[in-house]
């Protein structure tokens, strides 16, 4: 694996002791020895087991639910339906990676009047053991009136489509519609003069695209244990990306104050955006309240596929124009993303990202959020951006080919940079797209020829925002000179270590001398979700500030000890000095522990704005023309990390996102029958790539420091998934001469295109 760290000349190089090194992760031993505790591992005294009953229909009115037979079964302790949840309020809240409307959330957690997708939870049972719970769930009698279902976004937009919600009126800048429809929102952005822009173009390309629903595919199914005590306090152990977000959602759904709820985030086996909105926690809570015992509710894999958030299927039309010299003049996008059963999908970020890599003077974007009979969509790693990039980046490729300009040069020529105004409004601060593309261009991969029949090379780039949001941290100096870091960001990608390293760097100690812990909602200040690529940036900032707080206290105390003014004390890389006194952090900490109060650092931060991540890929493929199967021969991803705190974890994020992008491009899709039932709700037939399907993903970390972070960190968690499908589609074009417009480019689909082209 090549790993070139590019230091652009514009940055002043800084020397670090800890940052940029690769210490062993603090949670590594627990994970590789199987001792880490996940929610499904928990077992409490007297714990009941829960099981769901789910709708077999994609769209049906619920006439009645008869739970009496189930309740009468020996061993059954409680049954819950939507009647056990308070009437929800119609209130929308930002959860860090998308909004949540509590009326919809409540209706998603347990179906109210209608089941809106196959797999929609209708009821749940708690029993003394899992056998009884599952059998009892099957004894619940639900009377349905089956309604026509719609699972394709354009069908759902039709005037006469089956209507999911009779109170859904399109939100739009224009006039409020008088009739309900399946269109939740119409977004419109524009800048410049689009007519004029296309008139100036020498080449104009317009294409239509379709992508299918895909799932985040986290390895750990959703699981929670709830204990609703007699004193009215609720405690939840769960797999979540945001413990405080779970607390907030539970408070709203159950109508109890947040102060009554404690959420314990267990180790998490992946989330990718899919473990922010709650599913089973409120249901387990209600069951626990009803039976007075702790209740565990854990999903099976098929329940995860059918009942939890995938990311949208989409229809997109993108038109772009450029001059002979290769200057983009105009762009126009029409995007319809499915939101699943409730409005509020990923069309917002999709519309904002569609042209965000380029400086385009004249552009319009129209985006539609469309409900249909599929599970409510959730965030998935740079939500909405991957679909949009497929459209834009393949049109860009076509224009480059048409103009005879090298595809990397064409992108460089039009790349967004500091001062470029995005179509949706904001003007970029210092960003690293140009440097990222340059790194790709200078790479060994780009400069080695690809030979052989049926082979092709493709490139693409992608953009994703990175959130700031609230984070808190506390750090206790121990009397042996080590530091315990207490924070509230569930660790999905090695963030315990990347935060500990920032604390260690600031204090001038080793990463191993920090003991980082993710604690429950009673034990640390409010912290937003692990999402939006924000933890190393934002919670990292909190860790840094907590370290500065410690340093201030150490200086004051040293001044007392050495009988000088705090200002007299010099601190250099963790060594505190005054005249003849010179002590390391550790020596001083040991000494101070017996001379006064404990040293506790704390910080709470709420940085605003986006840290702006860019990624670019080169991919080489070989197509088997007889079967349509695509082999990835070589794959390189370059990404601007701002500053890679722990390069291995940055590479891990880049590789993970690339592999997910490869799966999305080639094989992953929800396969529906004509009644809206998913036919491939298992990892056997929902084909994520295995280690046999991908080469080692080569990484190039580019570092264009983020001016708004002390170490220059940008979010790195998501953007790597954005370019792969487009890059692969472009590579397939070079290998076959075919432009594919429908993801996934599965063997049957590509084979059919080849056969049609060959006139068979």
């Amino acid at each position: 694996m090549s790993n070139v760290i590019v230091q652009p000349s514009s940055t002043r190089p800084r020397k670090y002791n800890v940052i940029g090194t690769r210490p062993v992760r603090h949670d590594g031993v627990d994970k590789v020895t199987g001792k880490a505790i996940y929610a499904a591992d928990l077992s409490l005294p007297n714990m009941a087991q829960g099981a769901y009953l789910r709708s077999p229909h994609a769209h049906a009115r619920i006439i009645s639910i008869d739970t009496s037979q189930a309740e009468a079964m020996p061993g059954v302790l409680a049954v819950a339906t939507s009647a056990d949840l308070p009437d929800p309020w119609d209130k929308t809240e930002e959860l860090g990676e998308g909004c949540i409307n509590y009326a919809h959330l409540s209706g998603n957690v347990l179906a109210r009047k209608k089941a809106l997708y196959r797999g929609h939870a209708v009821a749940a049972v708690a029993a003394t053991d899992i056998h009884t719970a599952q059998q009892a769930a099957r004894q619940i009698k639900v009377e349905y009136e089956v309604l026509p279902a719609v699972t394709w976004v354009l069908d759902a937009m039709e005037e006469d489509a089956p209507l999911l919600h009779d109170n859904l009126f399109t939100q739009t800048l224009g006039e409020k519609p008088t009739k309900p429809s399946n269109i939740g929102q119409h977004i419109h952005f524009e800048q410049g003069d689009i007519e004029q822009g296309f008139a100036e173009a020498d080449v104009v390309i317009e294409r239509e695209y379709r992508t299918e629903t895909v799932h985040q595919g986290y390895i750990e199914p959703h699981a929670s244990v709830a204990l609703w005590n007699e004193d009215g306090r609720l405690k939840i152990w769960t797999a979540t990306q945001g413990s405080f977000t779970v607390r907030q959602q539970l408070a709203e759904l159950l109508k109890i104050p947040v102060s009554k709820i404690t959420v314990v985030p267990c180790e998490i086996g992946g989330g990718f955006g899919g473990k922010i909105a709650v599913y089973e926690p409120p249901v387990a809570a209600v069951l626990s309240r009803k039976c007075g015992r702790p209740v565990k509710l854990a999903m099976r894999r098929d329940e995860v596929f059918e009942g939890t958030g995938p990311t949208p299927g989409s229809f997109m039309r993108v038109k772009m124009g450029a001059t002979k010299e290769g200057r983009l003049t105009a762009a126009k996008a029409w995007l319809a993303y499915d939101a699943g059963a409730f409005p509020g999908g990923m069309i917002g970020p999709g519309s904002m990202c569609v042209f965000s890599c380029y400086d385009i003077p004249n552009a319009t974007v129209d985006g539609y959020d469309v409900v249909l009979n599929k599970p409510k969509t959730q965030a998935y790693r740079a939500p909405g951006a991957t679909q949009a990039a497929l459209a834009t980046e393949t049109v860009i490729d076509e224009i480059a080919v048409e103009l005879g300009i090298d595809p990397v040069d064409f992108r460089l020529q039009n790349a967004a940079k500091e001062g470029t105004r995005r179509v949706d409004g904001p003007t970029y601060p210092r960003i690293g797209l140009v440097e990222t593309l340059q790194a790709l261009k200078e790479s060994e991969h780009w400069n080695s020829p690809l030979e052989g029949p049926n082979r092709g090379r493709g490139v693409a780039c992608g953009f994703w925002f990175n959130a700031g949001l609230k984070s808190s941290a506390a750090a206790n100096v121990n009397d042996d000179g080590t530091v315990t870091l207490v924070e509230g960001s569930p660790d999905i990608g090695g963030t315990r270590t990347s935060l500990a390293m920032q604390l260690a760097e600031t204090l001038g100690i080793a990463a191993e001398e920090v003991h980082p812990q993710v604690v429950d909602t009673d034990s640390v200040g409010y912290t937003d979700v692990t999402g939006g690529s924000r933890v190393t940036f934002s919670t990292g900032l909190a860790a840094h500030k907590a370290a500065l707080d410690i340093q201030d206290q150490m200086i004051k105390r040293a001044a007392e000890l050495w009988e000088c003014q705090p200002d007299d004390i010099q601190v250099d890389a963790g060594t505190y000095g005054y005249n003849d006194h010179k002590q390391t952090f550790k020596e001083l900490a040991v000494e101070l522990s017996s001379t006064g109060e404990a040293i506790v650092g704390r910080a709470a931060v709420n940085p605003q704005g986006s840290t702006n991540a860019f990624s670019a890929n080169i991919v080489d493929v070989e197509v088997d023309p007889e079967t349509g199967k695509v082999k990835i021969l070589r794959f390189t991803t370059a990404q601007d990390a701002g500053k890679a705190i722990h390069p291995s974890y940055v590479e891990g994020q880049m590789q993970g996102g690339s592999v997910q992008g490869i799966g999305w491009a080639l094989n992953e899709e929800y396969f529906y029958d004509d009644r809206g039932a998913m036919k491939n709700a298992s990892f056997l037939d929902y084909r994520m790539p295995t280690s046999y399907d991908v080469p080692m993903i080569e990484t190039i970390i580019v570092e264009v420091p983020n001016p708004d972070h002390p170490f220059g960190v940008r979010g790195v968690g998501e953007v790597s998934i954005v370019p792969p499908p487009a890059a692969i589609t472009n590579a397939i074009h070079q290998a076959t001469g075919l432009r594919m417009h429908h993801l996934p480019i599965s063997p049957p689909r590509l084979h059919q295109a080849i056969a049609e082209r060959n006139g068979q």
Binding site: A40, A51, F683, T690, P747
Partner: protein
């Protein structure tokens, strides 16, 4: 817990608490295995008797890589599970170039592909045993189980047909034998009568200038069920340039794995070249009647039959020529 029932085999009454598979998997919320009796007889007769006692509600257990999954997912039910792995006859693998291969129904895949001589004598069978699941599965999964499970997409069955293997069955009425191509009846159904078990498979001795190959098509490179599969066995004349005899069998393109009779007969006397393989593939396509599903469309699977027949014929003749 163990209670002998006087007939020489043991029945254990397991409750789910003692059955480790249940306690491991329910943690993640999997469907629970229901309670069943477990028996591990040591003779074929005892196995038949145990089967006869429980009728439809008894299930045989070889490697368990199909049956445990099916029980756990509620795809079938059992009052009793009868483990055949203690029956010596079913666990034997005997090979000589003169007599051929006798393969006990419970012999796991790894024993086949690790056998020094079998990869030369029955290459298609070895190809198939190597791609069933991963190491863990191959350590347990048997060819007998693969056949009895009667999946249309089972990887070894086309190779058994191409190798002209014979099933040996024992039941309350005694023993009988029949060619593998007559064994499967429908998806998931075989022709075994109540009380009957598969004891062994026998393969004719390898012929000179003959070889075979198996290939399946899957969209990924692992962890997948064949969208289509083909096994080809060929014997060449002394020059190695002409086909003397051939057997082609197909998987995943009909309710059961099938013998491609017409294509096999047509190959007799044909020269070894690409046109021959392509033409044989075209003829083989005629017997394919696949379904449309998430693993591939009808047209695509029929097309794959042509590609895989051609490719396995080329590989088999290449191997035969190398002999």
């Amino acid at each position: 817990m163990a209670t002998g029932n006087g007939s020489g085999w043991q029945v254990r009454h397991w409750t789910h608490r003692f059955f480790t598979i249940t306690t491991i998997t329910t943690g993640a919320g999997a469907f629970a295995l229901q309670n069943f009796q477990y028996a591990a007889p040591t003779t074929v007769d005892d196995a038949i008797q145990a089967l006869s006692e429980h009728g439809e509600q008894a299930k045989m257990l070889a490697g368990g890589t199909d049956i445990i999954v099916q029980l756990r997912e509620g795809m079938c039910e059992a009052d009793a599970v009868i483990d055949i792995k203690r029956i010596e006859e079913l666990m034997q693998l005997e090979y000589s170039s003169r007599v051929g291969l006798q393969l006990g129904a419970g012999v796991p895949c790894w024993k086949i592909y690790q056998h020094a001589e079998l990869s030369v004598a029955y290459p298609a069978l070895v190809d198939a045993t190597r791609i069933i699941g991963g190491w863990q599965i191959q350590s347990r999964a048997s060819v007998g189980g693969n056949l009895c499970n009667a999946s249309p997409a089972a990887d070894t069955i086309p190779t058994l047909i191409a190798h002209n293997a014979v099933c040996h069955i024992a039941g309350p009425q005694g023993r009988r034998s029949l060619p593998v191509e007559q064994f499967c009846a429908a998806p998931g159904r075989n022709i075994l009568q109540p009380g009957e078990i598969l004891v062994a498979l026998t393969f004719p001795p390898p012929l000179p200038k003959a070889s075979s190959a198996y290939e399946r098509f899957i969209p990924r490179n692992e962890m997948d069920i064949a969208a289509a599969g083909a096994a080809s066995w060929v014997q060449l004349d002394d020059t190695g340039e002409r086909i003397v005899k051939a057997r082609i069998a197909l998987g995943a393109v009909a309710p059961t794995p099938i013998f491609a009779q017409e294509a096999s007969s047509w190959l007799v006397g044909q020269p070894v070249n690409d046109e021959t393989f392509v033409e044989a593939g075209e003829i083989a396509k005629k017997v394919a009647s696949p379904i449309d599903d998430m693993r591939g469309t009808r047209e695509y699977r029929v097309h794959l039959v042509g590609v895989l027949t051609k490719r396995t014929l080329a590989k088999a003749t290449h191997r035969a020529q190398a002999e």
